[in-house]
């Protein structure tokens, strides 16, 4: 949308498309260079541009390249990547930009009007004063008309629904002040309040813009989830030939052929072929599942080994993955009903301010001050009670906290997430990929050098997760692959090959034990290679620390294996296994109904609905894109400590927010009686207003230190 558009496509290349990827692993300048240069070197890629703040890459490439191939290229560069849906940020982006523009305009108006006002306050009189008032009006009226729009439209919206919000007193104050100032200017009067009106708008817009930036981090989620589904499928035609059809052209009853390495585009029943599918996104089970004729396979899962022929049973919105998306959407909506602190405050605040201003007007009228004097005082009350400091109290603290957390490797996506995180009273963890690292690590102690190199030669050829983990571990040890030929992969069974005259194999063990393992065979000697999914290094400390703080911790896992029991006993917490996405969701709903405020930490797509339903949720950076979208915060790295940091800093933030409210209200308590008494001149009002705002901002900046 921005920099990409600037890179002009050369004439003649008509079929260029944009793809966007989320690459959470980018952390430094080197990564930007690597990704942009690496992708740029791929044939067919026109340009790649990293957006570092959003951890995204926009790639412009020819239509022949499959976006999933680009994910492979990114993996080769050492970055995990996920396809992001088409610019879900557009909406939020526009709001933030509009507010930033309005802030700039208000700032411009404020400074120039103030320049003129200071001269008037310092005693300019006669023609000069009138000239300056006219100039102020000339600057201020267009500025207010432009910069005030966010408030006016919101106030109108509220009034048209017979409600009131914080924007109503602001709008009334600004409009009345402007109208009265214009009247003063035309009649050559003493005071004009253009400075007050523009300054009010400027400080309020600062708060709004900060708030919008915070919310801008939230990304739309559902599109990305559905993006994981295959986008097209090879459908067998009546004459036996196959044709590539897009997902929306698929219908139940069609027969599709799913090649190895292809993502399924629809739910269906296998009618031919044996293979293994990676179902992790639906079940959370990290092991590939062997499938054969008669078994159901689901959209979004990946066919790992051999081609399968599948008869489609459900497409598009009827698929299991679409069901998860729907659950996530619904759960998220129920949470977004949570009322933001500032809104709650304003619900009390707006009527109070109106009453006060009205009382001031009525009181001075009764006292016989004349309608003009009474109106001036009423406006002074409206302006001085201006929720400038109140408007900044929450966003300033939240933005500072968010950047402090970012330094700790936690990306908070929404200001209200900090409010919710601070209230959490229990923590639920997913197992695979959350408490554990989610990648099987082999125990290599039983292997000698020759066996290692043979194992590497075989493991390198396969995309099976165990093979990938084995190959990685062997690579890390500096093992070189033995010359193995005729490597064959049998789905759900293993790999075979010939090393010299010796038959070698890397297979699933004969007796399937309770733990995950592979069997390496060299001639007639066999060795078992056990695999373990390691705990995150500080998982035990984090769990202990949470318990120490009096926060109960438990585990919900989709795995059915005994691994759940091992982890639970190692960490000393209560764990449940074999939970389906809807069961996790139901459990959270149950806890919430009991009055608990649970924090969900999980990574799998199967955790998506639970993440969306929990009072607050955190996902690791290795989580699927959709889970990251559903979560309130994402933490990076292999340690679990950022979860603790997020809880600590969010609580600190709420303390600061409360202090800010205290300061803002304290200021009003001092200033309002003065305004009511009619002692407030424009100069005093302006100084008091900005001082209170600056104090609130300074107080919020203290949060930046708590990050360390």
């Amino acid at each position: 949308m921005n920099a990409l558009a600037d890179i002009a496509a050369p004439a003649g290349t008509d079929a260029l498309v944009d793809s966007r990827f989320t690459v959470p692993g980018m952390r430094c300048a080197g990564c930007i260079g690597k990704v942009e240069r690496g992708l740029g070197a791929v044939p067919g890629v026109e340009a790649a541009r990293v957006n570092f703040s959003a951890k995204r890459v926009a790639v412009r490439h020819s239509a022949e390249i499959d976006p999933f191939a680009l994910i492979g290229e990114l993996e080769k560069l050492g970055f995990e990547a996920q396809l992001a849906s088409d610019n879900p940020l557009a909406q939020d982006d526009r709001e933030t930009r509009m507010l930033l523009r309005a802030t700039a305009v208000a700032g411009f108006g404020m400074m120039n009007v103030m320049l003129l006002s200071v001269s008037v306050w310092s005693g300019a009189g006669g023609v000069t004063k009138d000239l300056f008032h006219w100039l102020s009006a000339l600057i201020a009226i267009p500025v207010i008309a432009y910069a005030g729009r966010p408030f006016f439209s919101s106030a109108l919206m509220a009034l048209s629904h017979r409600r009131t919000n914080m924007d109503v007193p602001i709008s009334i104050g600004v409009l009345l002040a402007t109208g009265l100032s214009l009247y003063e200017t035309v009649t050559g009067g003493q005071h004009a309040y253009f400075d007050g009106a523009t300054m009010l708008l400027f400080f309020l817009l600062c708060g709004r813009a900060l708030d919008a930036m915070m919310r801008g981090r939230t990304r739309a989620g559902i599109g990305a989830l559905l993006g994981r589904m295959g986008r097209s499928a090879s459908v067998v035609q009546a004459d036996g030939s196959t044709r590539r059809l897009a997902t929306d052209q698929l219908f139940p009853g069609m027969v599709m052929i799913v090649a190895a390495g292809e993502a399924l585009a629809a739910d269906g029943e296998v009618i031919e072929g044996h293979g293994a599918i990676d179902n992790a996104m639906l079940t959370g089970e990290s092991e590939p599942e062997p499938v054969g004729p008669g078994q159901m396979v689901h959209a979004g899962s990946m066919n790992l080994t051999a081609p399968l022929t599948v008869r489609i049973t459900a497409t598009a919105s009827d698929t299991v993955i679409a069901e998860i998306a729907r659950l996530m959407d619904e759960a998220g909506q129920s949470r977004s009903r949570y009322v933001r602190i500032a809104d709650r405050a304003s619900r009390l605040y707006a009527p109070a301010v109106h009453t006060l201003a009205l009382a001031a007007f009525a009181g001075w009228m009764i006292a016989g001050a004349g309608w003009y004097q009474s109106l001036v005082i009423a406006i002074a009350v409206l302006i001085i009670t201006c929720p400038c400091a109140l408007g900044l109290a929450v966003p300033a603290a939240q933005v500072t906290a968010a950047s402090a957390l970012l330094k700790q490797g936690v990306l908070v996506k929404d200001g209200s997430a900090l409010e919710r995180l601070a209230q959490v009273d229990m923590v639920l963890f997913d197992k695979t990929g959350t408490l554990t690292l989610g990648e099987p690590v082999p125990d290599l102690s039983m292997l000698d050098a020759g066996q290692k190199s043979a194992a590497l030669a075989l493991a390198e050829r396969s995309r099976h997760p165990l093979s990938v983990g084995l190959a990685k571990a062997l690579h890390d040890e500096g093992v070189t692959a033995a010359p193995v030929k005729e490597v064959l992969e049998t789905a759900g069974h293993g790999l075979t090959g010939m090393m010299g005259g010796l038959a070698v194999a890397l297979e699933k063990p004969e007796q399937a034990g309770t733990s995950v393992a592979s069997e390496l065979r060299l001639g007639d000697r066999t060795v078992m290679i056990p695999f373990r999914d390691r705990l995150r290094e500080d998982a035990a400390e984090v769990v202990a620390s949470l318990k120490q703080q009096g926060i109960p911790v438990s585990m919900m896992s989709g795995d059915r294996s005994d691994a759940v029991r091992d982890v639970a006993s190692e960490l000393g917490l209560f764990g449940r296994c074999g939970m389906k996405p809807e069961e996790k969701l139901a459990e959270l709903e149950r806890l919430k109904a009991l009055g608990h405020l649970p924090l969900m930490v999980g990574d799998g797509l199967n955790d998506g609905p639970a993440l969306a339903a929990a009072h607050a949720s955190i996902a690791p950076g290795s989580a699927s894109d959709a889970s990251q979208q559903a979560a309130d915060a994402v933490f990076l790295g292999t340690r679990l400590a950022p979860v603790l940091a997020a809880l600590k800093i969010s609580r600190r933030t709420m303390q600061i927010v409360k202090q800010n409210f205290g300061l803002a209200i304290g200021y009003n308590v001092l200033a309002v009686p003065l305004a009511l008494a009619g002692y407030v001149t424009p100069l005093i009002a302006a100084i008091a207003m900005s001082t209170s705002s600056l104090i609130v901002v300074a107080n919020s900046l203290r949060l930046a230190r708590s990050g360390r």
């Binding site: 921005n2 300048a29 080197g30 260079g33 411009f108 003129l116």
Partner: protein, 58 residues
Amino acid sequence: MTSLVFLIPIALLLGLGGLAAFFWAMRSGQFDDLDGAANRILIDEDEDGDEASEEDKP
């Protein structure tokens, strides 16, 4: 007094100039990736810069 006739328009024009510059910067997407801009300055444009960037990979 006559100096005001020049100074006020100049002040206004300078302000407007700044405002226009901000609008232009925002329209051209310079605020989209603030962290990236801070990091990009460290990237060497020439190809042999790769080794340097290998080191600061986390």
